[in-house]
Subunit: 196 residues, 2 copies
């Protein structure tokens, strides 16, 4: 077995265990058992428990960024781009529910227990939104007065909160794609009735 395979086996086991029990309640021995390796083996690939989390976070966010950038590559309409981003984000949940749970949690917790850690990967991910907004303003599609930096946080927050709900509730009313479209629609056109 190649080195990288074992690294990945441990990472994937960690995703499962962290999602199931949360980071602090997850035991190294749980991860080892799930990955079918000895406890000590984990320390050949990671420095410590935190390191597993950080490493997994960076790797996985990296993949997500690559995928969404690929999806956006051939689209020029900013409205469509926003929708693609939303659908992609929500779809993650379907494909990798456990991963999404871990990422959501990690995002809130990491800065509490690892002060030095600056989450550049996450910033890269949400900056895709502000780039879309900026582009849309230049092309005249989006209002000049909205602030890309605010929209990016608000839009991400909205999507993230919806996926949190989805991850928890057993029986959602709508499909993830419908939900993503609804949120995109609200951000694009607002909820107020137009009286023109």
């Amino acid at each position: 077995m190649r080195v990288s395979d074992k690294h990945q086996k441990i990472t994937q086991a960690a995703v499962k265990v962290f999602a199931r029990k949360g980071f602090f309640n997850a035991r190294i021995s749980d991860i080892a058992k799930e990955a079918k390796v000895a406890d000590g083996t984990i320390y050949l690939y990671f420095n410590n428990k935190y390191d597993i989390l950080i490493s997994l976070f960076e790797d996985e966010i990296g993949k997500i960024i690559m995928k969404v950038k690929l999806l956006l590559e051939n689209e020029t309409d900013p409205l469509k781009m926003l929708e693609i981003y939303a659908i992609h984000h929500m779809s993650l949940l379907q494909e990798q529910k456990e991963l999404v749970e871990v990422l959501q949690m990690e995002l809130r917790q990491s800065n509490k227990f690892i002060k030095e850690y600056r989450n550049t990967k996450f910033i890269e991910y949400i900056d895709i939104i502000s780039e879309i907004i900026h582009k849309g303003q230049q092309s005249g599609h989006f209002r000049q007065e909205v602030m890309p930096g605010v929209v990016k946080r608000a839009f991400f927050g909205a999507l993230d909160e919806m996926s949190r709900l989805w991850a928890l509730s057993a029986k959602p009313k709508y499909t993830l794609e419908e939900t993503a479209k609804q949120i995109t629609d609200i951000f694009q056109h607002g909820i107020v009735v137009r009286n023109s």
Copy 2:
């Protein structure tokens, strides 16, 4: 000293310590020291460490709900109501930064380590949003096709993410009130240019 005083002293100490170190890294002895009581005293008022967190969450969200309901009482315009909610939510950060940090964290974590715990207080808090939306639809201010249940999550998520940013960053560009207004504006009118 009245019993309730000590209960509250411990709760407030816990807010400080949880905000500083996170729930899992906070030691009971830290909280005891902060509250200036003995470790054992804490167990006269709370069953265990989780209980402190839950109890504090319910109490504090309860107060927040009461305050925002009071603020909304004399307002009838749904657009204004939404803005009031947003401003109130963001203002919490100014007044009780530590508390907000703890609540945000707890929201993500609680369901991980206490399976039975259904967060009814939190639901009550965000249901205020869907009530506003519903009211606005009945009065003809808001579009019929948006779903109050989706808007409430999206709106809360947007506000929550903005406060997360605020709690982390040392030097924000705008005041909390401006930020709250911007988010409300986006939800009300969207970001797309109107061509009527």
